[in-house]
Amino acid sequence: MTTVAILDWSMLDTWIVIAGMLCALSCALLGNFLVLRRMSMMGDAISHAVLPGLAVAFLLTGSRASLPMFIGAAVVGIMTAFFTEWVRGAGKVDEGASMGVVFTALFALGLVLIVQAADTVDLDPGCVLYGAIELTPLDTVILGTTTLGTIEVPRAVVMLSCVLLLNAVVVLLFYKELKLSSFDPALATALGINARLMHYMLMTLVAVTTVAAFESVGSILVVAMLVVPAAAAHLLTDRLPAMIWISLLLAVGAAVLGHMGAIAVPAVFGYSSTSTAGMMAVTLGAMLVCTVLFGPRDGLLVRVVRRFKPSLRPRAAEH
């Protein structure tokens, strides 16, 4: 039965997996720096906080066109990072708390704006603003025509490819600066790197990625892909390049396995497929659990074995 469900694989499924992989790659790449900077909750905060941006963009243009919505959301997303930094710096409030204060307040503001608009227009934050990955293949754009026919690609795939390209280019260009300012902002500043600029650049990328991704594939996948692959990779290695590659690998793996799971797992119990984004997050969770338990570096199993076999303990001089 399970095999039958998987064998129904179609072009639709391929596009869903491609969209998921692109989202996974763009998020996981940035996630490494967020985890190192102890800002893992930023994706969650931004994906809640952009509501007023969406509402204002909608109220001003009166349409649900993607571009104004995207701009509105991205602007508020970046503002979230600024406000959080301001409350943290000027008010000396703990990072997590300042994030919580800012994103809940912005979300509430967005709710108030949307309720005001609800009389004149139809704007439901639940289904309009937050996309679902299953629906991505239905919304396509035509890229061009060849002799073989038109090339039609889902809009989400185009958008996420652009975001991935942007993230990859920025991370490659500023790799050294990002790395230094993530580990030791004071040293980075002493070496002439503008750590604050790096911070805001990263936050801008996170905001753009979060907005682009939740608009096309849903917010839960963004939050999961930003945190979990990087967290698992962090448990496996001490080196940043290795950590980035591992996180990218895990993210792509979770995107593929997650969609297969979404089709196959419910089929075992006699249901048809369930939420792909949800299953991708669950797959990531399973990967992290495996890392925690069986990780070769300091997984729980290895630690138990080392307790009884001291010869296997890593030598202190290694690091």
Binding site: M41, D94, V112, V115, I220, V223, H234, V292
Partner: protein
């Protein structure tokens, strides 16, 4: 932008403004809400206020434990529990929408989520924020996947399950308010009983563990309180509001006091007040959703606290810094003038003369003494003149009688501290001036007496002459 588009923008802006302005309530409406005359308003205001009080108390512990966002992860982690409870109830033939069943499910996975955070912190090197992010996204993802299955069940009652549990404040009923009241009571009692232990846990968990306190157990008790408040609050007022109530009042209270007990009470007060005010506002203006209004009221209080809170607010901190830098500048001026008088005309300072005044010093001479800019020096001299400490005489400035008295004390404090540093801290006499310069301004009378005692230079009115312990150099005292 085309004309049509601009027109749309304008129209929509007006629609928005109209919508916001067209809600002016009548005085009778306002009165009815304020006196809680409506049954429904009464229930909602009392219920949310109780929730705000409870969340404020728990939130202040969470804030100091640096776990403010735990409520966020926890409230998302309730989703799979709700879905599982629904599926299980349906499988046993009961109605899946029974509230107690759903609440039990939510509590179980919520607690599991918190447990996962604690385990990840303990057994891996993941930091707090990463552990929270992992739990939030994975549990919520599992919940979404389970809901995908719930929606396919042939019961028909699955529709709107999510909004059923992530309730609406305005539809709160009296049993909700009672439930919240009960939870609030539990929270208050547990916090009162374990106050000392929680405080220790917040400020120094290592020390608590060293003293033999069961830190993990205490943490679990505290986290259980958070779970209770979150689950109850989720059902009553919704997801974002609960997160906000756990964070914002506590963060605001932090600006008002450095004492934990006071901060907890203030946090409870802010939580309760913003709930009461926000719910009342939404009752007067029905177009404003109550949950969002409560958050916005709490946020306003937060911003005001951040600006003006006496303990750590921005304005009081700035004022204190300004006051200190003024005091330091004034003392530098007085000491410079006193020492220059001492070098040139020491006879002026002898205490037997009735009216002592300082030597006449020009602005130029003074500015060479320290790295003052002319502008700085002039404004400083002016304010000192307003306080009758210096006066203009001929082409120079000199200390007045009052100024000499004050300057002598300042100089004396400086020299006492220098002597102390030379005697006890082995600071070289040639370098001691700089070091003393940084500390002398904060030496109070009590500290000065202590210094005198150590150095054997007791003097009841702290006016005795004290020679400088190092050679005076023109331009650098």
């Amino acid at each position: 932008m085309s004309l049509v588009a601009m027109n749309t923008v304008a129209t929509n802006t007006f629609v928005l403004l109209d919508a916001l302005l067209a809600v002016t309530p009548s005085a009778a409406d306002v009165l009815r809400v304020l006196t809680l005359a409506d049954y429904n308003t009464r229930v909602v205001v009392i219920g949310t206020t109780l929730l705000g009080l409870a969340a404020g108390v728990v939130g202040s512990f969470m804030l100091l434990r640096k776990r403010a966002l735990l409520g966020d992860a926890l409230s998302h982690a309730t989703l799979p529990g709700i879905a599982i409870a629904f599926i299980a109830a349906e499988a046993f033939g009961a109605s899946g929408k029974s509230l107690p069943v759903l609440l039990v499910g939510a509590t179980v996975t919520g607690a599991l989520g918190v447990g996962t955070v604690l385990l990840l912190r303990r057994y891996t090197r993941l930091k707090e924020d990463t552990a929270l992010g992992v739990v939030l996204s994975v549990y919520f993802g599992a919940g979404v996947a389970l809901l995908g299955i719930v929606q396919q069940m042939q019961t028909g009652s699955a529709a709107g399950l999510e909004s059923f549990i992530y309730g609406k404040t305005a539809s709160m009923v009296v049993s909700d308010a009672q439930l919240i009241g009960l939870a609030g009571l539990v929270v208050a009692v547990v916090c009162a009983v374990f106050y000392k232990e929680f405080k220790l846990l917040c400020f120094d968990p290592q020390y608590a563990a060293g003293q033999g306190w069961p830190v993990m157990l205490l943490d679990l008790v505290l986290m259980s309180l958070v779970v209770i408040v979150t689950v109850i609050g989720l059902q009553a007022v919704g997801l974002i509001l609960v997160i906000a109530l756990l964070i914002i009042p506590a963060a605001a209270a932090r600006f008002w006091s450095d004492r934990m007990s006071r901060m907890t009470l203030i946090s409870a007060g802010i939580g309760g007040a913003s709930c009461a005010f926000g719910a009342a506002l939404s009752a007067v203006l029905p177009r404003l959703p109550s949950g969002a209004m409560i958050v916005l009221v709490a946020f306003m209080i937060f911003i005001l606290s951040m600006m003006f809170g006496p303990a750590r607010g921005i304005v009081p901190r700035l004022l204190a810094r300004r006051r200190l830098s003024r005091k330091v500048a004034r003392q530098h001026l007085l000491r410079a003038m006193y020492e220059m008088t001492e070098e040139r005309e020491p006879s002026l300072l002898v205490r037997t003369t009735q009216d002592q005044v300082g030597a006449r010093l020009t602005t130029k001479e003074l500015s060479q003494r320290r790295s003052w800019s002319t502008k700085q020096l002039e404004s400083e001299l002016k304010t000192a003149e307003e306080d009758d400490l210096v006066e203009l005489s001929g082409d120079g400035w000199r200390l007045t009688e009052e100024g000499v008295t004050l300057a002598r004390r300042v100089t004396r404090n400086h020299r006492l501290w220098e002597t102390y540093l030379i005697t006890y801290a082995d600071v070289a006499p040639s370098h001691v001036d700089r070091d003393a310069d940084m500390v002398e301004h904060v030496l109070g009378p009590a500290m000065t007496r202590e210094l005198e005692k150590i150095l054997g230079r007791r003097d009841p009115d702290q006016q005795a002459e004290l020679p400088s312990p190092h050679a005076m150099v023109e331009g650098r005292s």
